[in-house]
Symmetry: C2
Subunit: 332 residues, 2 copies
């Protein structure tokens, strides 16, 4: 199955079947279709839907240099030892300007290169109208449809985009390393709100205790109602495979918490379902808005928006009036 053969919707079932039978190239091809917002994506999504909804999704984020790849590598090893099939998605929230991504340090996880139970893909979203909010869950669904029991989403950095991606996971790990000022960064970026587990990696280095206690202190400051999750903090030295059991135990503990029945709710039964429904809502909304954005771009042969914009830039029209005019063109 080569790239050029997927030109029509009728090829999609073949490709999805191949992916489900363990063809790594078919999986890679499907993720590429997601990246590029290919016109056949709706067919891909329809073919995958019946096989999705149950994989565990783990997010992993942190600044450059904290040891994300090494930690991911060890987590994959631990999950494989449990007999689970694992997908790794290295997401690059690359700028809208570069296009090109610097993925060098993330595409290599040579330890698992020959393990057929592990899929590793890097992905950017530069071609996707719905952005990462729409592209990432679709790629997760590809890996899930290909039979992965667990999907790890790895993102670099602690900026807003990374926070959003991390929030697509059931359980989000935030990696820190001693002496990088990450604790303060974490608060600034809102990481404290989305981290379910903090991993202080490189825990054999000077300052690890200080980082550990800083984070514990910040967690202690947060208000938490009864039954709410208190973020766990664990230490690891991933490049010596130390502390990975503790990381896994924290993930398991969080998963149990997610699955506990919620009191009173009629529709939603547990936190896991609640999170997944919220994620699905964000995804559907992003796809719908992407489609609306495309429609706006084509109004009056693509001239509607630029014409209004030039009047706004010149101070002849205010942007709200311009937006109203744009929407009335859209509605007619």
């Amino acid at each position: 199955m080569t790239a050029t053969t997927i030109r029509r919707s009728r090829d999609v079932p073949t490709l999805v079947t191949a992916a489900r039978e363990g063809d790594h190239r078919a999986v890679a091809r499907l993720v590429s279709l997601v990246e590029n917002d290919d016109p056949v994506l709706p067919d891909v999504a329809a073919a995958l839907a019946p096989h999705t909804g149950s994989a565990q999704v783990i997010g992993l984020t942190g600044s450059p240099g904290v040891g994300k790849s090494t930690t991911t590598n060890e987590l994959v090893r631990a999950l494989r030892a449990r007999g689970q099939r694992v997908g790794v998605l290295a997401v690059d929230p690359s700028s809208p300007f570069t296009g090109g991504a610097i993925l060098g340090d993330r595409v290599r996880m040579q330890d698992h290169a020959t393990d057929s139970g592990v899929y590793i893909r890097s992905m950017s979203s530069r071609g996707h109208l719905g952005g990462l909010a729409a592209a990432t869950p679709q790629a997760v669904r590809v890996l899930e449809g290909a039979g992965c029991d667990v999907v790890l989403i790895e993102t670099v950095g602690v900026g807003q985009a990374e926070v959003e991606i991390a929030s697509l996971a059931d359980t989000t790990l935030v990696l820190l390393a001693p002496g990088m000022g990450d604790a303060i960064q974490a608060v600034k970026a809102g990481i404290l709100e989305i981290a379910d587990v903090f991993v202080v990696n490189k825990a054999d280095r000077d300052g690890a205790d200080a980082t550990y206690h800083d984070i514990q202190g910040m967690i202690g400051l947060g208000e938490r109602g009864p039954g709410e999750w208190r973020p766990q903090v664990v230490r690891s030295v991933a490049n010596r495979a130390e502390g990975i059991d503790d990381v896994m135990a924290a993930i398991d503990k969080h998963r149990e918490w997610l699955a506990r029945p919620l009191p009173g709710g009629a529709g939603v039964h547990d936190e896991l379902t609640r999170r997944r429904e919220a994620r699905a809502a964000a995804e559907v909304e992003a796809i719908a808005l992407g489609a609306l954005r495309a429609r706006i771009g084509t109004l009056r042969n693509g001239e509607a928006l630029p014409t209004l914009a030039s009047r706004v830039a010149a101070g002849k029209l205010d942007p709200y009036a311009a937006a109203r005019e744009l929407l009335s063109t859209l509605d007619t």
Copy 2:
């Protein structure tokens, strides 16, 4: 004029008039309306439009600790010495989760606190449906409407959100400091594409030469057609007010370049107009999409999206089919 008095659209002209007459509290109030996506904003925009379109907008970004506030402070001083009225907008791309912004180090520019020709405001966009892409240009327009000749937009960090904000300026300065690994970060975040001027601040420190030459080397690698801008690199020690003349000279040089006539184009006459029209287009689009997002949220009494999302989460419906259903509900 207190916060509670602006409750109806008919108060807007009074507020805008007060702002134009130099009432700092009126300006602050208008920026707050922008932050919170207040329902009266369309009226504010309409009242401001005739007074906008000519202010120079300068963006300034860089990692924490490179000396953004100090540099901004000195630039304000230099612009004031030229007799220009200056607005400073410290934009915080705070996470969607925190809401609360940590602005501590940015709200203080005490040197100019008593200068009536300087407006300083910090802003986040958590309440704004169109996000920073829509909120920032509106806040710029408030400052412009209040009579500012120059508006400085200061953002922290080098992530995607910051890159987007920086790109709202006519001229974008990226601050670096020696030994922070910023050069590599800059490339990763796509900063190289958006920086018009690099400022190597703290140029009296070890490693300043290396940073300077790293950046020059990266600029040299970029392909550039004839007439294209080559990013300038200047050195400064902002806390001793050294090198600020060079920064100002680089800004002036870039402004001249922006204003040069473009060859051939019938509609667009110069790069400055081209940039401003592109920014206006992004702003109008963001407002329109924000309105569409609000409409989507209210479909079937707000139940349309959650209902579809729960079917997607359960694997009973794919997200594209869900988005199609959502859009058909929107269209009817």
